[in-house]
């Protein structure tokens, strides 16, 4: 039975161009895994034109947040100037950003570690 250590070694050890001696890329796989697992965040920014009741309505109707959570996020946007209202994969957050723009909200996205 092949041990885990050997399996890991087999993944990470890639022959060099000449094929003579193995070249070890210790971080390649783990970097890719980390890249995929770092979530993106959707940020909604304050805009004096957007009614507070409207922002709360959007958070409830689009994300399905309960009224209390929608109000909390809306007040964060209003008082702090912005709030993170969703976290997910890059594709998900791009879709949410587009949807927020259809509602007329000021929304942008960034990596959660940025």
């Amino acid at each position: 039975m092949v041990g885990v250590a050997q399996l890991v070694e087999r993944w990470l050890v890639v022959p060099d161009v000449a094929g003579s001696s193995p070249v070890i890329h210790p971080n390649r796989e783990t970097d890719l895994l980390e890249e995929a697992s770092i979530p993106w965040v959707l940020i909604v920014w304050n805009d004096p034109v957007n009614l507070m009741t409207y922002v709360s309505y959007v958070f409830r109707s689009y994300f399905g947040y309960p009224r209390e959570e929608a109000e909390r996020l809306m007040l964060l946007v209003h008082r702090e100037g912005k709030a993170v209202v969703a976290t997910g994969s890059r594709e998900e957050i791009e879709r949410h950003t587009e949807a927020m723009h259809e509602f007329g909200l000021q929304a942008s996205m960034t990596r959660s570690d940025a």
Binding site: Y54, E98, A107, S108
Partner: protein
Amino acid sequence: MILFTDSDRRLVIDFDQQEAELLVLLARQLEQFVDDRAEQVDPLVRRLFPEAYRDDPDAAAEFRRYTRDALRSYKTAGADAVATALTATPSVELDRADADRWARTLTDIRLMVGTRIGLEDDDSEVPEGLVGEIYDWLTELQGGIIAALDGGLSDRGIAEPAP
């Protein structure tokens, strides 16, 4: 302007003839702006079409490339729906989906008027005068629509009034 929810849980808005004409005018202005000027450098473009990536110009440009046309169509279709309905009659009946769409279009119209009267942050004040009054009226209308949505409207599709 009178708003009420009828027994079928539809939102009824009775506009004065003048109010209806004003809203048609504003909706058509929004439609024309989005049609003609969405690619220009303009403070209103930045608000109607916000940058998706504020700290990555390349990603922002790519997002724009893939989404801008659809977002423009979405906004012009919403503006056209409001203008078309009010051109037919100053009294409209909206189900939940219609009211949601009207609330979005009113957001865009208020962004258009608000940008022109300099509403940049929470300290900005609505100026006195006709445009300020129009802005406040739009705010009242949008607030009424949201209150109706919060109160619960029918999901059933209601046919648009015949033109």
